[in-house]
């Protein structure tokens, strides 16, 4: 359970987000204006802050910049209804750790908050292990138990991304952003096909399932032992 702060001026949106995040077991506080949000952000230790780009009284990005200037490193996710694509860059430059454009799906927001809360602390490790899976980043080799797997470079990258987040739901958009490094909504079932391929190589007949499809949300890699 994490302590979260939501700064969002639209009460209806806030109610849905609060309901969803609380339903997922988080303790969430809500501030409706920029100044109230800034005060709340300083008054307590939060695990993460979700804030809207456009807030009455104090702009979301200004608020974030002030927080960062004061040395506050709390993970922050910026929400924005502005359609300008450069918005994302602006949000990240102001000190945001992630960015989500409106309209968004609740599951997407939850998954991204989860990713912020469980940010991999050590990204320097060269051998990743999840259950019986072992990925050597330097050699580019993957084994499941004793079986060596033959993966294409892209599949290797996708698997490494999932193995750094075991048990965590990652959405298709997150995978596309991180593994392919492009920013737009990928069409049709492109990502599913890639994940499907990876699964066929990972999970031989009779072996326990490693990558699970979380309906309406995304995928998750769970340890098999």
């Amino acid at each position: 359970m994490a302590k979260l702060l939501l700064i969002e001026d639209d009460a209806a949106t806030a109610a849905e987000v609060l309901g969803d995040l609380r339903g997922r077991g988080h303790a969430v506080d809500w501030a409706a204006t920029g100044p109230a949000g800034a005060a709340a952000a300083r008054s307590a230790d939060w695990n993460a802050i979700v804030l809207d780009r456009m807030l009455p009284g104090l702009d979301g990005l200004t608020l974030l910049r002030d927080l960062r200037a004061a040395g506050d490193r709390t993970p922050a996710l910026v929400l924005s209804a502005l359609s300008d694509v450069d918005e994302r860059i602006r949000g990240l430059r102001a000190g945001g750790d992630d960015y989500l454009g409106k309209p968004f799906v609740l599951a997407e927001l939850a998954a991204r908050i989860e990713a912020l809360l469980r940010r991999p602390t050590d990204t320097r490790e060269t051998v990743l292990r999840v259950g019986s899976l072992e990925l050597d980043l330097i050699a580019g080799s993957v084994r499941r138990g004793l079986r060596a797997l033959d993966l294409l470079p892209r599949e290797l990258k996708l698997l490494a991304y999932l193995m750094r987040r075991p048990g965590q739901v990652v959405t298709r958009a997150m995978m596309f952003e991180e593994v392919w490094n492009y920013r737009f909504a990928p069409k049709s079932n492109l990502i599913d096909v890639h994940v499907g391929r990876l699964r066929r190589k990972l999970e031989a007949e009779g072996e326990p399932v490693l990558i699970h499809n979380v309906r309406g949300e995304g995928f998750t890699l769970t340890p098999d032992v």
């Binding site: 309209p103 892209r154 049709s188 079932n189």
Partner: protein
């Protein structure tokens, strides 16, 4: 009245009248000045000559001034010979004018003279000279002649000014009236355009003058505005229409789910289907906004050097599994290394991904999709060929328009915005975008990227 004063025609008429009056006045002043100066000069010379002639020989001075006086038929010649003490010795002047120095120069002096037995105060042009024996001779001429000539010129000017003014006013009114009539027809046309009738055009005359050219330019502008309005209206209608279809489906599905669901699972199914349709709708709205945003060129911030070969192979890599699942052979043909181009990597990827998405979507199983790069006359051409149904020649110009879907495309899922987005991205980068027949049936899209000069 104030409307008349402010009117273009009235001001022109008045302006032209004033201008021609000013011109006539200047001309007259010049003539007047030249005539008067000429006559004065003539008289001065005569007087100077006479006074010098009379003063040359003291013996004959009296005689000579008598001759000067006798030459006169109109009582305008005057002369006098005065002793050193000022006593009159000869001539028809009573006394020597004291304000006239005896230096032979001509001056205008007022004095008493006897004309036809009457004594009159007259202004005379006079010159005086000293004789060797101390006497002074004065020769004078009446000023009336020159004054009369001057007055005649001034009167002529006054008389001529009236018709000049009248004619120039008339001419100004005629000219201005003509301009006014042309303007009135233009004004009427503009008024109709302002009332919303964009099909109206300004009248263009035969003359081909500046006014006609202006009217032509305005008409060209109206053509463009009409075309844009047409397009906006088309987009608006298409958005509304395309939104209504999924929203109708959504409404029906939710309504039926609410009434007929027997358990929570069935209700959830209804909601899930509804969410899919909502996502499609939002996707379309996002695409419309994105096209608009790209078309307004607000993305130049992200421009940089782009390795086209890398972007193409990454796009192919993304679509390869999907093509394989559909049984389509997706091949890539990079002709050596392509030079870097200037652009937005993410947008270029999106354009290629959209073209690839179409190719994979429309190509039947066991078909082929080929993507490649070739260098051609200073540009790098990215092509995508497929063995799908192709695009009919008549529809090719239409496919890049927003919401246009070919007859065949209507049977598949899509919003008709993919190629519109590609076109917008191409336009932002100044890439050429063409579609033609593919070598193995199907179609071939080409994206011509001008290679940045100086980069290789």
């Amino acid at each position: 009245m104030s409307r008349l004063v402010r009117s273009f025609a009235f001001r022109w008429a008045l302006g032209i009248a004033l201008w021609s009056t000013l011109l006539s006045l200047t001309l007259f002043a010049f003539v007047y000045w030249q005539t008067a100066a000429f006559m004065q000069d003539e008289l001065d010379q005569v007087l100077r000559h006479e006074v010098r002639y009379a003063a040359r020989d003291p013996e004959k001075a009296a005689n000579r001034i008598e001759t000067w006086i006798s030459e006169d038929l109109h009582s305008v010649h005057f002369a006098g010979l005065f002793g050193p003490d000022g006593a009159k010795l000869a001539g028809n002047l009573d006394g020597r004018p004291l304000d006239l120095p005896p230096d032979g120069e001509v001056r205008r002096i007022g004095m008493q003279v006897a004309i036809a037995g009457r004594r009159l105060q007259e202004d005379l042009w006079s010159a005086a000279a000293s004789l060797s024996d101390g006497k002074v001779v004065v020769v004078a001429h009446d000023t009336d002649e020159i004054d009369r000539a001057k007055a005649t010129v001034v009167r002529a000017l006054g008389l001529a000014l009236v018709p000049t003014l009248a004619f120039s006013l008339l001419g100004g009114m005629l000219l201005a009236g003509r301009a006014r009539r042309r303007l009135a027809s233009t004004e009427a046309a503009v008024a109709r355009v302002m009332r919303g009738d964009l099909r109206q055009r300004l009248p263009v005359g035969e003359a081909g003058d500046e006014f006609d050219r202006l009217a032509q330019d305005v008409n060209g502008m109206l053509d463009e505005i009409e075309r844009l309005m047409e397009e906006v209206r088309g987009v608006g209608d298409a958005v509304a229409h395309d939104l209504r279809t999924p929203l109708t489906r959504l409404r029906l599905r939710l309504e039926r789910g609410r009434e007929q669901a027997r358990d929570i699972e069935e209700l959830r199914d209804a909601v899930d289907q509804g969410l899919v349709w909502i996502d499609q709708t939002l996707e379309m709205v996002t695409a419309v906004l994105r096209i608009g945003e790209i078309e307004h060129g607000r993305r130049c911030a992200a421009f940089g050097s782009v390795d086209l070969g890398l972007v193409v192979s990454e796009a192919v890599d993304l679509f390869e599994p999907l093509a394989e699942e559909k049984g389509i052979a997706l091949s890539i043909d990079l002709d050596g290394t392509a030079p870097a181009i200037e652009g937005d990597r993410s947008l270029i990827f999106e354009a290629i991904a959209n073209l690839l998405d179409n190719a994979v979507k429309f190509t039947p199983p066991r078909g082929k999709v080929r993507v490649g790069l070739v260098r051609r006359d200073g540009e790098t051409v990215m092509y995508i060929e497929d063995t799908g149904p192709g695009i009919a020649a008549g529809e090719r110009a239409q496919v890049f328009k927003r919401f246009y879907r070919t007859e065949r495309a209507r049977q598949t899922q899509g919003n008709g915005l993919g190629l519109g987005l590609v076109a917008a991205i191409a336009k932002l980068h100044a890439f050429s975008l063409t579609v033609s027949d593919g070598p193995g049936g199907g179609c071939r899209f080409e994206l011509g990227c001008p290679t940045t000069s100086g980069r290789f």
